[in-house]
Symmetry: D2
């Protein structure tokens, strides 16, 4: 449809200058279908929902490789979102089936970053990242990511 | 409260390296109160809501300086979000009164960028930006921002 | 606009049979403006948001008459939503200024019910109710509504 | 867990008087997993999300039996929500896998009603209904539900 095409051009034109590196080798993905409640009066998925989808994918990633978010909490850790970034390339519409490709792009001390690419029928329609801090659930002090989680992530990403 | 303090430290530590320039001179702000529906099971406002608040502030800014978003659409223009970025410094909680400081940071051809700082009792708890493209509502082609809007923004920001 | 008129007729036709009593004498109201994020691809406010607005109004009511929701929690009480009901008469649109009229319709033991009417420019566009249970925050057992809260509500509603 | 049990008792107690008939014979269901973004500071899924899940289930139902919501729109019909009702029996929590049982409870002229039951591990944790009007997409006048859709629903529900 015209809107997507045109809008894609706008997006590409604008975002070249950001030099967002396209990360090859996403090994994990999870699918979401755009809900009607997630659309807005422009007829496309509202921009805030991408952060919800990123979170859905993050939770699925941790379930796949690290025993799940609950397991992490049970070990006494919490995490907070420090930063989020979304680049919108093509609009998503009601009932679109989207694939959220997800990887841990960096782990350093108490911090880690997830990278995401959203594709529809194999075409990238958005990308982004979220940065997080791991804290001790009792003291709420930043704390090194638990070794078993770091190892699980390293194994997961090494094989991709 | 401890969580806020600790979390703030984490946030600051992590984000120094980003060299996000603190923009002085926000001339416009609008207030939101954190809704209970906007909190999550960590007891804080969910990270996706910040993009909704940015939008609320953007709409209020355009109403103040540019005759409102509706006026822009009536002139035959639409805009799309190309990018969004949020930096979370301190968590926001239920019933917190937040002030969303808003300015247009850049206008260039068909593109413009809004910058935001969210304060609570005068303290910055988050910041961010959204980038947009202006398009002709009929052809959906990127089009230079209408001159009267560009002028209104220039006047608004010049005086700050 | 045609949509509103037609839709209103549909709504009225259907809902007559429900004999929803129009409650006169709402003494309290709070205003919300429809956010763009709250619209959907039909161009109107999505039906789930009405429950969020009801909650915003409930919180404001408690702040006005009962020292606020936080005060209630500090006294050791929690409340849960048992039921919600919304009747949509006319669609709400982006940037519409809505008035949420709110009253406590019934208090009985551990249970209480809020009633709502949403008006736009004085015309009712939706109505509804939510039923709640008061529980002891420690034991989570249903518990009689604290007397000072019940008294505050009685005073508030008596004068309306 | 205690909260669920207690809350369930409260819910049942309150709702007996409503004589909500438990509809046996739901033939269709669709699953959702509670997103973290859907939780609130009480640690449970926020009450407004149930209407979003109902809609997700409704869309899936129409895809299964009636060629999808898009097909209906392509035939020149739109539908509006006239009423919604939710009864919350037990709280849902982050990552809970919920099954939304869905059926069309009534079709009459331009109006139809969906009924829902939400189960977790076979136990009903919520139920509800939504009433809708079918309108001609051009005139927006209430219009009899298209015969092929009515037939498809009749076949679907007859076999259950």
């Amino acid at each position: 449809m015209a809107l997507a095409d045109k809008r894609g051009q706008v997006g590409n034109g604008v975002c070249h200058s950001l030099r967002v590196t396209r990360v090859e080798g996403f090994r994990f993905s999870t699918d979401v279908t755009v809900r009607f409640a997630e659309t807005d009066a422009q007829g496309v998925a509202h921009n805030a929902n991408y952060l919800v989808w990123f979170e859905v994918a993050r939770v699925a990633y941790l379930a796949e490789y690290a025993g799940g978010y609950s397991a992490i909490r049970e070990q006494g850790f919490e995490s907070f979102v420090l930063e989020s970034h979304v680049r919108y390339v093509q609009p998503a519409r009601f009932d679109d089936r989207l694939r959220i490709h997800t990887r841990v792009g960096e782990v350093r001390g108490a911090r880690f970053r997830f990278d995401y690419e959203i594709t529809r029928d194999g075409e990238v329609i958005a990308s982004g990242s979220t940065s997080h801090a791991c804290v001790d659930a009792k003291t709420l002090r930043p704390t090194r990511i638990p070794q078993n989680l770091a190892d699980a992530i390293a194994r997961a990403e090494a094989s991709s």
